[in-house]
Symmetry: C2
């Protein structure tokens, strides 16, 4: 089939706050071809990612992402690989391109799966989709009491693994951080898995991070996520050496396979966390999973938005039985939840499984999108390069 149309929908909550909650807006991608429709989702900055799809060419290796996709043939995984290679080369100097293409690539897999009546994980070569242990992913409370309560409600909702992220950690002192870690553990009880995410707060300051290790150990945290800037490989490596018990986790910022490989090869992480909405889509995520398997590192998805994004991120490691943990957005904004008609249920057992349904197996709830839809127009020399398209085809 031919890729006939690629449409972007910028969705946003009425109010956007400065909390580190990526579910406050979304960029949905709809790809149409051969009478089918596929959906994908780009992580972060919808307006900029739209611009990278429609912008005028700057030169031969700074072409808009759209130039590599529209009108192309899509009959099998090799076509997606060909389009991906073209984006990587022809948009080499367009920094935003991988974020834009991530949602497009997901939608291409969804479309291909719907056309062939196969789930994406099977198109990727997996024979089975294994269930994962969903971990409830949420932010630290402003106070340790709030964190304690959030831990309790995640447990009450059936989760046996819970992650707390960002918030006040690293912003005051070690004592305050210790109280937060302790409150999280107390709220969870001794049995549940505790994960801690500090959102790059220490940039490349190994000592600041190392000072918290004993407190993280005392709280029996399985991992410490993103202690440093995404590219601070030496800092990662130095801290990893000093932390035999609490493993390091990172990788969500990877916008290509090489970045994720470097974090494993040079940074010494024990868990590699990939957001298919940033790294260029599902196939690059699968490449990272293969690399992790080969090195004895555990692959984990990074997902803080919709269940469409969750399904997309699950595909890459659906067939890896021993890579068990799965980030599950526990308290997303209504937009991120309402966007899809289908949802993963993680009540009770806390288990989620990439669906055994064609494509990504998640239907979009189109009428529910309308209140969140942002009306965007981009013109260059009075020519309209982008205008929010109709939701109904």
């Amino acid at each position: 089939m031919k890729i006939e149309a690629v449409d972007f929908f910028y969705l946003a909550m009425p109010q956007i706050t400065t909390e580190a909650d990526g579910s406050q807006d979304a960029l949905l991608v709809r790809v149409a071809g051969g009478g089918h429709v596929g959906w994908g989702e780009c992580e972060a900055s919808p307006l900029v990612s739209i611009a990278a799809f429609v912008c005028p060419m700057s030169h031969g290796v700074c072409r808009p992402v759209g130039a590599a996709v529209l009108g192309e043939t899509l009959d099998g995984p090799a076509d997606i690989a060909r389009i991906t290679a073209r984006v990587a080369y022809d948009s080499m100097d367009l920094l935003q391109a991988p974020h834009t293409f991530s949602g497009v690539e997901m939608a291409l897999w969804d479309l291909l799966g719907k056309k062939t009546s196969e789930p994406v994980w099977r198109l990727l070569g997996y024979r089975r989709s294994f269930s994962k242990q969903a971990y409830a992913s949420q932010l630290f409370g402003d106070t340790s009491q709030q964190t304690f309560e959030r831990a309790q409600s995640a447990r009450a909702a059936g989760f046996s693994a819970v992650k707390f992220g960002w918030g006040p950690i690293g912003r005051t002192d070690r004592q305050a951080d210790r109280e937060q870690f302790q409150a999280a553990r107390e709220g969870l009880g001794r049995e549940a898995t505790l994960l801690v995410d500090v959102g790059q707060i220490w940039k490349d300051d190994v000592e600041a991070a190392a000072a918290r290790l004993s407190d993280l150990e005392a709280a029996d945290a399985l991992w410490l996520e993103e202690p440093f800037s995404a590219g601070a490989l030496s800092a990662y490596a130095a801290l990893a050496k000093r932390s035999p018990k609490v493993k390091l986790a990172g990788g969500e910022a990877a916008h290509n396979v090489a970045m994720a490989e470097h974090l494993m090869l040079y940074g010494g992480v024990g868990f590699i966390q990939i957001d298919s909405g940033r790294i260029g889509g599902i196939a690059p995520s699968k490449k990272v999973a293969d690399y992790a398997v080969a090195r004895g590192i555990t692959f984990v998805n990074h997902t803080f938005t919709s269940h469409l994004a969750l399904s997309a991120s699950l595909q890459a490691y659906a067939g890896l039985e021993n890579h068990r943990l799965c980030e599950f957005p526990f308290a997303p904004k209504p937009l991120a939840y309402e966007m899809t008609a289908d949802h993963f249920s993680a009540d009770g057992s806390g288990e989620v499984t990439a669906p055994d349904r064609p494509g990504l197996g998640i239907e979009i709830d189109v009428p529910k999108l309308r209140p969140y839809l942002q009306k965007v127009e981009i013109t260059v020399n009075d020519q309209i390069l982008y205008q929010t398209p109709d939701l109904v085809t």
Copy 2:
């Protein structure tokens, strides 16, 4: 002083071709404060970089670049460092941010230099600006005869070092590439320095690159530039080990200091090439230069556009006497040349020196910009986020 205004001007040639010539468009940045004006230039994709300055916030660490700059205080280098750190953290999830901020950061240095009547290199801590050996940077011809002629004209124009890049290299076979290298050497004569840039053509294929090493040695090439994708560190390292004579060069794609450091630390390059219009501006370029000095690696600018960008890229290593080579755009499009009223002359001696004048020392030729100016408008929910501003303040 307060940063009162930041204005972006998208300039483009009437026709944009698919050749790898980055001088076909430009994104000029004008920053105003305290009665002064500073100028900078972002490399690549003007529309997308504008969008990254004005886009609505997605969440706390995906804020528009503008939010970290407008209304801020600028009284010394520490203020630029503070604004830079804020962009790095608050726009962490906005991939295009470093490209956008690069031009802004240059303009901040230019503004600060004009206010304090100091050249930027002195504000960076250098006591002298040493002259550099300009190398004429141009594309390979489609035929080896064209390459031969281009080599001769660069020599006739007074250059003692010449780089050929991209074009047909790696697209046919080894024999064709050898003829190109030979033609370049013959056109230059035995005395001149020959540099070869292959524009990432072999992605991560070490053998394909290694097969050309003996031909590059025979042509006495000083370096082989960008044999692989920017992040293919293992491929760089493997090739570097096999090429004691022809050193590897790379780094132009670095959009943060860490990427450049990795290419030196893990990739084994002998020359690190930094584009201040991509890496986040002048101060990050200087950090890379410091790191290169410490490791015995040679720093080189990457510049293929205007003489404003050339001055900006020179500042970072102006004071390093032994880092002698300087990329000089030999055949830029008229837009890139006409943009500035001041030009570096590299006739005769082929030497260029970062100017001993306030700021970047390059005046913009405002009336000459007008024919190239693109009229852009970006609206979200009928609110105009960007509209091409007036050239005359």
